[in-house]
Amino acid sequence: MARVAVQTAPFDVATELAALATGRHDVGGIGSFIGTVRDTAGGRQITAMTLEHYPGMTERALADIVAEAGRRWPLLGVTVIHRVGRLVPGEGIVLVLAASAHRAAALAATGFLIDWLKTRAPFWKREHFADGSTAWVEARAEDDAAAASWATTSRAES
């Protein structure tokens, strides 16, 4: 029911949607989030991004986040795919899909999954600039706040 993957290859949204829902007649809604590489950061031009992770712990952390989503909402299927390695602007970094009988659960779970992933899964981004320099991306307080907003209350009805 849950598919979690960490991979260097691009993901294909149509393939993942089909794997999640084709042939199912109990799904009423699928929420989705696709994170993509932008070409600027803090006003500087980005030529690429490198994603590093902690093999082993990453998969465990993602599985834990998916399991928590399943405890909070009546989900019929979840897909989380996160890419690592070198990515260029326009490429997809992360795909989250959440299927449920009802849209409120599908959409809330989608938001929860990406917010928790952002603060709990061991990935680190390095940005490559046009002048050849690089910099590690710093964690953002607003991501912590977004993740914390889910910490104690289920938002299935929001």
Partner: protein, 84 residues
């Protein structure tokens, strides 16, 4: 012999100068906080471990300063995560 496997990620890996190492577990080191102090005392390469934002995982689960460290553990130090 009681050993720990220690991993470093992202800018911590760069500042420590290695991705991983094996450490003979010193007598009396039983918590994350004590291990971190022990490593920092080893020399300037480990100064980055003193950064307050550094996170620690024991056996691939997030840990706090008081979390127990024992023989055979895999201990990872890394900056706040920035995926997604």
């Amino acid at each position: 012999m009681a050993e720990l496997r220690i991993l470093y990620f992202a800018w911590l890996r760069e500042r420590v100068g290695r991705a991983e190492e094996t450490l003979a577990l010193p007598t009396g080191i039983t918590t994350v906080a004590a291990l971190r102090e022990h490593l920092i005392a080893r020399g300037p390469a480990y100064a980055a471990l003193a950064e307050p934002t550094v996170r620690v995982a024991i056996n691939q689960a997030m840990a706090g300063p008081a979390t127990a460290v024992g023989p055979g553990d895999e201990v990872a130090f890394f900056p706040p995560v920035t995926g997604g």
